[in-house]
């Protein structure tokens, strides 16, 4: 994996990540394909709307269908027929947020599957083994996502565990798979700095900020984002995990982050909340009953080119599968298009104006 910065606008960067599976323009948005499918989308459609990398979930794929099965089918790319780069999270976040009966020790976490209650254990060794078997292009270290609010002592202990696990993951890294470290430390700048420094000493292909948007006020989140970005190495991709609100993305890109993932466009789509250049629309609203206009007149996606708001409302109320398809396609197109335009703004040195315009549009 190579990373090249092409343009800068103050701290913001427009760059290119080169992988054996294709290039990724940054800042990049990664659609989330939890169970080896981006919900409601075909891989062809993802490619058509310009997705250059997707994220898949280690925890989910380990539990079902199992990483050994995916390996036997030829790996995750072949399994889901996605030829582009794939980033896998480490499972850490899901082990803590989805599973039950967690018991943490120095080697990892014992937990109960959210699917069938069966007992499992994942630590750095297992997380790396699973990700290797899946064959992702970018793996993430196994971390504990520090909750909020939490005492300084807890945050410190959590951080030490994450650092130790990161070290073990680094030892297990194999050629051909990039590995990103994850900065934890809650909302303590001191701990964030310490976390970053310990990871940088080990030397990763990229650096992520985890444990944000877990309940802390937006101001604190933005402060930590602003704090972390500049202390990370300038020549490596910086990935802000799980954050996708347009306003937060703008703050983070301005601070110098390069990669993002979020279920926001896909999950909202299935709930009938659609992103447009005029702000969010709830497609079920009565006012769209006979509305013959496209969802977003400024959008060039398949949904907006071919269907009316009245039809989208009908499909949603009738609980039709095509509703989830057309809504997801639109919301993902909207996100990928937003990122394209953001990269252009960085290239032309107009990110500040771009940010102001979008903050108004989506507020």
């Amino acid at each position: 994996m190579q990373f090249e910065i092409l343009e800068k606008d103050k701290n913001a960067r427009a760059g290119l990540i080169k992988t054996g599976k294709g290039n990724i323009n940054t800042p990049a948005f990664m659609p989330v394909g939890t169970q080896a499918t981006v919900k409601a989308m075909s891989p062809d459609e993802l490619k058509e709307i310009g997705a250059e990398i997707i994220l898949c979930n280690t925890y989910h794929l380990y539990l079902r269908p199992g990483h050994e099965i995916i390996h036997s089918i030829g790996g995750l790319h072949r399994f889901m027929n996605w030829g582009g780069p794939i980033l896998t999270d480490s499972g850490g976040f899901q082990v803590f947020s989805l599973s039950a009966l967690r018991k943490i020790d120095d080697n990892g976490v014992h937990f109960k599957s959210h699917l069938d209650g069966s007992m499992h254990f994942i630590g750095p060794d297992k997380a790396m083994e699973i990700q290797l078997r899946l064959g992702s292009d970018i793996a993430m270290v196994f971390d504990e996502c520090t909750p909020y609010p939490v005492s300084y002592e807890y945050a410190l202990k959590s951080l030490q565990l994450t650092t130790a696990w990161a070290k073990r993951c680094k030892e297990l890294q194999r050629q051909g798979q990039a590995l990103f470290g994850i900065v934890q430390g809650g909302i303590s700048k001191e701990l964030r700095k310490r976390s970053a420094e310990e990871l940088m000493e080990m030397g990763f292909n990229g650096y992520a900020a985890g444990g944000l948007s877990v309940g802390e006020p937006k101001e604190e989140m933005h402060e930590i984002i602003d704090f972390i970005a500049p202390i990370l190495p300038g020549d490596r991709p910086r990935y802000l995990m799980g954050i996708g609100d347009i306003r937060d993305v703008l703050v983070a890109v301005e601070a110098g982050f390069d990669m993002f993932d979020c279920v926001m466009p896909t999950r909202n789509a299935r709930n009938g909340t659609l992103f447009t250049s005029m702000g969010r629309i709830s497609i079920k609203r009565e006012e769209y009953k006979s509305d013959n206009s496209p969802l977003d007149p400024d959008c060039n996606c398949y949904t907006c080119r071919n269907f009316s708001r009245a039809y989208l409302r009908h499909l949603f109320l009738a609980k039709e599968i095509l509703s989830m398809r057309l809504n997801t396609l639109h919301n993902l197109y909207f996100y990928l298009d937003f990122f394209r335009k953001m990269r252009e703004a960085i290239g032309s040195g107009t990110l500040r104006e771009f940010k102001r315009k979008w903050e108004t549009a989506v507020s």
Copy 2:
């Protein structure tokens, strides 16, 4: 609407229906788009897999979103972005099978909506008005689908009502929309003959057989199919309503039927039952867990060209939307391909062998 017979193999016919919206090769299979969408499919995909006509349901679209809304958006074709021919059923079958609290009088049926319990009335006048507003290419007369089992007296009364309603529908037919009569009469050959003769006297663009596969034994159904086809005019399309089992279709095509619709491929797809050249497959079965082969090696659909059985099984068990998409696409492709091959068999005078081969394959 014009109908031309191109080839004959005994009583079976391969023909061409020409409409302002495009040609339909017969025998034709019409995917069912109940609520102005063929479940899980986009209109582009329908076209790609070779669908030449689809069926939409008058009853459902009248209740939701309402025919006036669809009319205000530019009609059903524009509403759902399907440029090809559309046949609308009359709502008769659904009024009797889905709604509650039915009260029949000479002018039509009072019923309670299955959606919200509201009271409605549909008779021949309303059914024609709705279908005209929807703008379908082929409309169906409003009929009473005679149940099974039923007394001769009931079947006779039901038939008289259907004939009277057909007459009224015929009076209301407008230029540009074809209208098909529907032969009823239960399993009485005498009543079926009488029904057909009364309809033929009025002169319709095509003739359908309704009220079959409503519980009667297969042998009786096949006997009625064999009986009805030859008494209908040879120069008009013959449509066997709601029947899609491959074996029944083969019997009906051999008897001289030209058009078919059925939810079987789409509904089965969503339940994980997939049609293949080796018979039906339940994709959830354990044996497909690590099966890297395509669903049907003889199939050239998107699903079979790109994904393994193991992946299809995973998507189904994980209840992913893509499961319903890929399964539906395959099953519809299978049906449309089967009809294509059946037309070729008629053209080459080998329908009998074709039928024997398929009866073995799907048994």
